[in-house]
Symmetry: C4
Subunit: 191 residues, 4 copies
């Protein structure tokens, strides 16, 4: 029951974030196709952030599916994750409006990194609640996507000051990596 | 269970989009009736987009009602549809603020076209999951409204550069076409 | 089931509208108490609109509670009501920012009037679905609050051009009238 | 049933408020790290308000968990609480943009104080409905955190005109006090 409300609240926040993103797409002043061109970087960042929020919603969904009850720790770990996700529209706008400049590109990566850590903390809080026989622990233990993602974010932050295209490539790569839902948890639960 | 959360998330996003639309209605500077007149095109576009989002919510509702489980494919097809719907407030504002100029009118049609394709992909994903005996397949197979809509959108995009009033007429026509809920699915399920 | 989703969607839209209202409260430039004074009319309108949206949520809640199934007609009558409610933040901002000028005050009343008619249409659609023995029909038949409200809105619109304070008094009066939840429906259902 | 919809509506409003906060984080004009520095006070206020809204959601959750039915009084007490919470993004932005000036700091405290009173009224409405044997009454009766919070808010408002850092310290202190979920209600219900 408590879990249902936690899911509903998280769904609400992510749904709002994914739609608040569109408020950053400022209506262009001109009415020809040319006036759309300066919007292109903003638009591409919009797509990327939409996909990231979709991935988080999707994985969050699988994660809570594997959860029994909800403790105070899980609740606050969840709010902590939502906090970092709520900063995505801000870094999206900053990066998009500045044509992928170095510092905004790094800031985008910092928020993604912090959200990944927030997700990890949520996993740890759930596993701690499930105890020794936690099925989630087994499933997550063999996780490599999370580790690769965190490494890519860190590389993206550092390389933003060298060549920001590499950073964007890394952010896109991680998004593609996660577009496939976390089948490990699913298959583990099905056993 | 998973389906319930998919519905709730989609409801959330569409509910937010339908209310974010109103944020485009900028408060006029004057306080007489005259000051409302320049708002008329924006207001009419607002009404049209409100109706379109209502139609999508309605049909989405009937579609998921006919769905059993939710796969990763269905989930992402759904997010893809929501992505295009999330661009409606943007094209609504661009078209309304520019008194139905050619390119914004075409852009409005492009987003409607893409959303229609997104809806089709979602239908295909659900039918693929239901397998050979899919009732939805039968119901959708005889669909003509979807095909007419897509043809109208394409005509609307092309004719925006000739006479944008034809485009608007076509967009309004499609909306009227869909105001009637999709009774085919309903009647098929009732059997 | 369908009813649950209709309620959830309506809740979502009203919850967003009630919070979008606050976006109209522009942060003042100064930092002394004086700088809050020009905000007073906006703030008072904010309170009034908050109460009105709360009343609609409350009564909508009781109304759907008395409803069995959901037809296409009910669904669109509901969206029609939500459309007018979605204009409340717009008229609220227009009236508040212009210190209750005549036309914005009348416009505020026009939207309230249209929402009241929308509510009435929703009631009629539900009664039509329930058929001859509709308990809702009996409960609503003796309704006087709805009629008084509509009369007050019309008077408020007309008198805005004479003395707008009378209009505001009428709008506040109707809000107070409805602050008491609709016990008739409740008591009827309890029988 | 009614309770479920009350929870869903409150969740919706709080989820929107917690994400509307981020709209106050205006994208900086520069693209270097320096341009983030003037945002620091706004950002810190953002974090504090995020935590406060999280705390209210959390405690609201526990409170309604302990509630049986929903009366008109409970419903309006709940809307009254949501009203004050809905002003948090406004005072957050005012305080953050003005580098914690005296009056905005006091205003922030006034809204927190009013929300605390709103929460208290909601508790009283629920206890009144539960009657003589109310378990909530016992649990709340020994409450000291609520009293300490109200005292801190009042001190914060008064001291904002002397030394606003003391006010901020008090606001942070109260937030830390509540980060621990209200175990009293939980343990009482478990008996």
């Amino acid at each position: 029951m408590t879990k249902g409300r936690l899911e509903a609240f998280s769904d609400g926040v992510i749904a709002i974030l994914i739609t608040i993103l569109v408020l950053e797409l400022k209506v262009p002043h001109g009415t020809d196709l040319e006036s759309l061109r300066p919007m292109l970087p903003t638009f591409l960042t919009y797509v990327l952030s939409f996909v990231y929020l979709g991935i988080y919603w999707n994985n969050h969904h699988h994660l809570l599916h594997a959860t029994g009850g909800v403790t105070g720790g899980i609740l606050w770990a969840n709010l902590h994750l939502l906090f970092w996700l709520s900063l995505i529209p801000f870094t999206t706008a900053w990066m998009g409006e500045n044509h992928f400049a170095a510092v905004p590109t790094a800031a985008y990566g910092v928020v993604l990194f912090a959200a990944a850590i927030g997700y990890l903390i949520l996993e740890i809080a759930i596993i701690a609640h499930q105890g020794k026989d936690s099925k989630l622990r087994e499933a997550v233990g063999r996780e490599w996507k999370g580790k690769v993602s965190v490494a890519c974010y860190l590389a993206g932050i550092a390389l933003a000051f060298e060549n920001h295209w590499i950073s964007h490539g890394l952010y896109v790569f991680v998004a593609l990596l996660w577009l496939i839902p976390d089948r490990r948890i699913e298959s583990k639960l099905r056993e």
